[in-house]
Symmetry: C2
Subunit: 155 residues, 2 copies
């Protein structure tokens, strides 16, 4: 339960307390996007889960000691290295879960946006929700690969 302070250790240990949790509106069903999401989430040794919300559902309250990232076209675009560094910092600070909120169709409420620790954009282009979900899953896997020194990021 102790805080991880081994920032200088190279972060190559398999153990990571930070869980990655995608919370997304809408059902991916059986689709190419769903196949991509499954492919990348399965590769994440930190532990990664997807929760799909019905369109009218409220965003669940955040668990204790968590961070919330909201995917938003008006958000900040980050390089994969910077994204990895942020997740690595949160992990090292002892954060237990980072939630990534996507959708709903009409966009997130002002309250959800204001409460976010980060508004993240994949550049200024508009992406379909399901494709954005697959893109996020890939960036999450890539971030963990970068922090682990895995060659995926260079392949």
């Amino acid at each position: 339960m102790g805080l991880r302070r081994d920032r200088g250790s190279g972060s190559r240990q398999g153990c990571c307390a930070l869980k990655l949790h995608i919370v997304a509106y809408g059902k991916a069903g059986r689709s190419p996007e769903s196949d991509l999401i499954d492919r990348y989430l399965k590769r994440i040794v930190w532990g990664a889960t997807l929760t799909e919300l019905a369109e009218a559902a409220a965003v669940p309250p955040p668990p204790p000691n968590s961070r919330t990232v909201v995917l938003d076209e008006r958000g900040t675009p980050l390089s994969s290295q910077a994204f990895a560094a942020l997740l690595g910092r949160w992990r090292d600070e002892g954060v237990r879960e980072t939630r990534f909120l996507l959708g709903p169709a009409d966009g997130h409420s002002a309250g959800t946006r204001a409460a976010a620790d980060l508004l993240l954009a994949f550049g200024p282009a508009t992406w379909p929700h399901l494709l954005a979900r697959a893109m996020l899953a890939e960036q999450l896997y890539r971030a963990t690969a970068i922090l682990a020194g895995h060659p995926y990021h260079r392949e």
Copy 2:
């Protein structure tokens, strides 16, 4: 064969002389990415094709009256609206084909980059080549939908 100068007409006509041509290194094979590429290219009424190059192949010379866009992490990120406006301008100028070059694994040569009409990035993040190909196909369809006034961009 005449140049299209109907920039003010609302661009809702089905006819478009500008062909969209993705020229990409590597084989997508049977994959979720390939399914996505097929899905979006089939929806493009302008006409859209994909040519896959072997890793050692040279970039084919550009056809007459064409434009070349190189996908490049160091390129310019564009909003979907700005990307659509650029393609619409080229179409209205009578350009017959726009080529979109992706890959190879070691990146494009300096010569290919220098000869490009546009270096395009999907934000500062690094994307796998096949996923970037699917993302490009989606943005191409979205651009034609924007120019046609089709509601896809707002859904």
